[in-house]
């Protein structure tokens, strides 16, 4: 196990190094000019332009800038935002709470809601099953931005149960403000998890060892818990883990739709305004989070299922 973890850690480091280069290079190659941002789009006298170029090191060679940036990033210094003239690390840490809370909230909905619905459908064939199958088939195809519009329209504008935008202050208000965004983010994933849960639990229930347990008269609830659900846990947790990882990217859409002050929405607006340091910083953080979550999911699956080989090409 230790060797396996070591190997994963090494792969993690390599992945991060490569992705940091891609993040940095991608942005440098992208069209557009930070000078446009700095000058507010106005034509400035040459001496003003020279001052700006120097202040933001816009004239140094690419590799020098990359190495400097990476060196600083490792020490937690992601540079200074051109637009806001604040430290990028500060800007990121101020916003990461919202994004983390949103993703955790959504993940909770996916796991609890998805597994519960799936179990319900698996254990209650007939009308209940049909309803779950049909409704999840519909919801699984709804992208978060559509879900956001529908949820805002129904729950914020029409019913006025929940606020349409912003973060809210205080724990209760924050939960209220995050509920619609989390639902929008979780909707499709919940449906997917419900469907997978239903299928795998059904499958497990039909298997020999489960049938044997049932015929021996073990309590049904215990059979479902110990034999069916436990075996179904690997596919479910793998799917849920991947879904959570994908939420890191999708959060941008939802945050923007609900005007949440999170990393994703900030990434979009920084990219629009060519705020290089911020885009690079957030991309790096998001890529790191994505890779980390995926690694955790793999490690978790290995722990859940001893059959997964820890050696070789794990």
């Amino acid at each position: 196990m230790a060797a396996y973890l070591m190997r994963r850690a090494l792969m993690l480091a390599v992945t991060l190094l490569v992705s940091s280069f891609v993040v940095f290079a991608g942005l440098s190659l992208a069209p557009g000019n930070p000078l446009a941002t700095l000058s507010g789009g106005r034509s400035l006298p040459p001496e003003s332009v020279a001052v700006l170029v120097q202040r933001y090191h816009l004239n140094e060679p690419f590799l020098v800038r990359y190495v400097t940036w990476l060196g600083n990033a490792v020490r937690g210094d992601l540079g200074v935002s051109i637009i806001l003239r604040q430290d990028v690390s500060d800007l990121i840490s101020a916003r990461s709470g919202t994004t983390i809370a949103l993703i955790l909230y959504a993940a909770l909905i996916v796991l609890v809601g998805g597994v519960a619905l799936g179990l319900l459908a698996a254990l209650r064939p007939g009308v209940v099953d049909a309803i779950v199958v049909m409704s999840t088939a519909l919801v699984v195809a709804v992208p978060p931005f559509v879900a956001a519009i529908v949820l805002i329209g129904v729950f914020a504008v029409r019913l006025r149960w929940l606020p349409a935008l912003g973060n809210g202050a205080g724990l209760w208000e924050q939960i209220r403000h995050l509920t619609l965004p989390a639902l929008a983010l979780a909707a499709a994933a919940t449906a997917a998890v419900a469907r997978v849960t239903r299928t795998t639990v059904r499958e497990e229930l039909g298997r020999e060892h489960v049938q044997t347990a049932i015929s021996r008269g073990l309590p049904y609830a215990a059979v479902v818990r110990r034999h069916a659900l436990r075996n179904a846990a690997v596919p479910i947790s793998t799917l849920a883990g991947m879904t959570v990882a994908s939420m890191i990217a999708l959060a941008a859409v939802v945050e923007r739709a609900f005007s949440l002050n999170g990393l994703g929405a900030y990434l979009v607006s920084a990219a629009l305004s060519k705020d290089f340091a911020v885009v690079q910083g957030i991309s790096l953080v998001l890529v790191t989070a994505f890779v980390l979550v995926n690694t955790l999911v793999d490690v978790g699956a290995a722990l859940l299922d001893p059959r997964i080989k820890l050696g070789g090409r794990a």
């Binding site: 700095l38 507010g40 789009g41 034509s43 400035l44 604040q86 519009i149 935008l165 979009v268």
Partner: protein, 550 residues
């Protein structure tokens, strides 16, 4: 003067934000723009003054504010907020006329000397008095090319600034400049505390450094990406104008659907819509908010990318294209009536002084109607039939896409071939900044405006060689000399006459083809009233009278 990019950026980002297809006032569904645009009667410049005190108001911007330093406040989210907190030496009133502000007079003892007389008893938020030193320092900051400020070019006739008495500031001029009063009526004329700015250095105007001005609102909480609050300055030097609202929270809401929901639920109390909102019908139908229309300095236009190249180098082709553009359709589709076809770039909203002169000149210009036969004849005369014109646009911005397709179909109707070069919104700003990007197209689109109510301020940016909006290298010595004369004339009437002279030439030469003049659109919660409804909200305090409905 220019406001180029704001345009762009505004076009750019805003675009993302709010534009889409506009829709407007349903006062009978047919607020038919008067043909050719006589000033409309359904426009208001202010809403009735508020009566009751209000604790807090939430105001939407198309994105979060990034700077509250006047020298780098250039786009809507910055200037709308900064103009509430910082006051300028002269003040633009809602109808566009200039009034005394922190200065009471501007005298010219000789044509190359300007003397500002400052108001007595003005205090910064911290209680310290505003001195001639602060004023000279503030103007110098704007003039300093190394300061990274946006307004260096508009102060180019100033040679030196000096505090010449306790309440006197003397400006030595390189050439006579009678636009100076107007230049000092928005960001370049805003006064900041010298001591405070020197203490904060480069952090001034950011979250770290804050700000120190004299206005009736001062900076409250500012969490970038979330909220910027301005709170009432209870020590405001001008008691008579103390605001009724205790706090205004500004939020950046880029998404149209979110903004609509927030306005309908009352989570946002108000917003100026600089670009048309596609959900306008829904907003209008709601009882929660009211929609007001007012005059504005804005003009939508097609900029000719190079006056010396391509089919548009021929004035007959430019004229033909202008004759073929269906402005009514554009206004109907995009603005749902809340704009008017423009005869010239300097539209009625920009006539801050000498209205009769501008009105007479406007009436003398041909009304912009569609004349396809005449246009085709011009194209044939010019031998341009079948030639290709390329327009730069961005599909990410509904406004640009609508505008570009309209002009494309106009070009095709009169025998030209038209191509659209679609770029990202980011790359779109390249047309304004980079001659190489311009070399790739024959024309591109702008929403533009002068920074004060004078058409000359806009004409000068595009007609003077090396001006801030000299994109297509339009050279007409006569127009340039008339505009220089306008700026150098002490008499307001002479300035206006020289300006309309230049206007006649520019409108004939068409370095930019005027398309439509959009209204200022204010959406305000029905419980509130008192905000101004004109471009003034970009340059001067617009919420002094904002309060609860009586």
């Amino acid at each position: 003067m220019q406001r180029v990019r704001t345009k762009t950026v505004a076009a750019t980002a805003v675009a993302l934000a709010m534009l889409a297809a506009g829709c407007y006032r349903d006062n009978g569904a047919s607020s038919t723009p008067a043909p050719g645009g006589t000033p409309r009667k359904d426009l208001v410049t202010i809403t009735p003054a508020g009566v009751g005190q209000v604790d807090s108001v939430t105001w939407a911007l198309y994105r979060g504010t990034t700077s509250i330093d006047p020298i780098t406040a250039g786009d809507y989210p910055e200037i709308t907020v900064t103009s509430l907190m910082c006051e300028s030496l002269f003040r633009q009133s809602p109808d566009g006329s200039a009034e005394p502000g922190l200065a009471t007079r501007l005298d010219f003892p000789d044509p190359k000397t300007a003397v500002l007389t400052l108001r007595e008893g003005v205090r910064f938020w911290d209680g310290s008095p505003m001195t001639a030193d602060d004023v000279a320092f503030s103007i110098e900051r704007n003039r300093d090319p190394k300061g990274g400020g946006y307004w260096v070019p508009v102060l180019d006739r100033v040679a030196s600034v000096e505090a010449s008495g306790p309440l006197k500031v003397t400006l030595k001029l390189k050439q006579p400049d009678y636009w100076l009063r107007d230049v000092l009526s928005y960001m370049p004329g805003m006064v900041v505390s010298k001591r405070y700015v020197q203490a904060k250095g480069k952090d001034y105007g950011t979250v770290k450094g804050g700000a120190m001005c004299t206005g009736s609102f001062k900076l409250g909480q500012w969490r970038t990406g979330d909220v910027l609050s301005v709170v009432r300055n209870d020590g405001y030097w001008n008691r008579a104008e103390s605001p009724l609202v205790r706090r205004i929270d500004f939020k950046g809401i880029p998404d149209e659907a979110t903004l609509t929901a927030a306005l309908l639920t009352g989570e946002v109390d108000g917003a100026y819509l600089e670009l048309p909102l596609s959900t306008m019908e829904q907003v209008r139908a709601s009882g929660t908010v009211k929609v007001y229309h007012g005059p504005s300095y804005l003009i939508d236009a097609l900029i000719v990318a190079d006056m010396g190249r391509g089919p548009l180098a021929d004035p007959r082709v430019r004229r033909a294209l202008s004759l073929a553009i269906d402005r009514e359709a554009y206004i109907r589709t995009l603005y749902k009536g809340s704009a008017q076809p423009a005869r010239a770039l300097g539209t009625p909203g920009t006539w801050g002084a000498q209205r009769e002169v501008f009105q007479a000149a406007w009436d003398a210009l041909p009304a912009p109607g569609v004349d396809l036969d005449g246009a085709r004849r011009l194209i044939q005369e010019a031998g341009a039939s079948g030639k290709t014109v390329r327009f730069g646009m961005s599909n990410e911005l509904n406004k640009l896409a609508t505008e570009a397709n309209l002009v494309k179909s106009a070009a095709e109707k009169i025998g030209l071939k038209a191509e659209l070069k679609a770029v990202s919104t980011d790359a779109y700003s390249g047309f304004f900044l980079d001659p190489k990007a311009r070399a790739d197209v024959d024309g591109f689109f702008t929403t533009n405006y002068p920074n004060w109510a004078d058409p000359g301020a806009l004409y000068a940016t595009l007609s003077l060689p090396g001006g801030p909006q000299d994109y297509g290298r339009y050279r007409n010595p006569e127009a340039a000399s008339l505009l220089r004369r306008a700026r150098g004339s002490a008499e307001a009437r002479q300035r206006a006459e020289a300006t309309v002279g230049a206007q006649a030439i520019v409108t004939k030469d068409l370095p930019w083809i005027p398309i439509a003049a959009p209204d200022t659109v204010l959406v305000l919660n029905a419980k509130l009233t008192g905000a101004t409804v004109s471009s003034q909200h970009l340059f001067a305090p617009w919420a002094s009278k904002l309060g609860a409905v009586g």
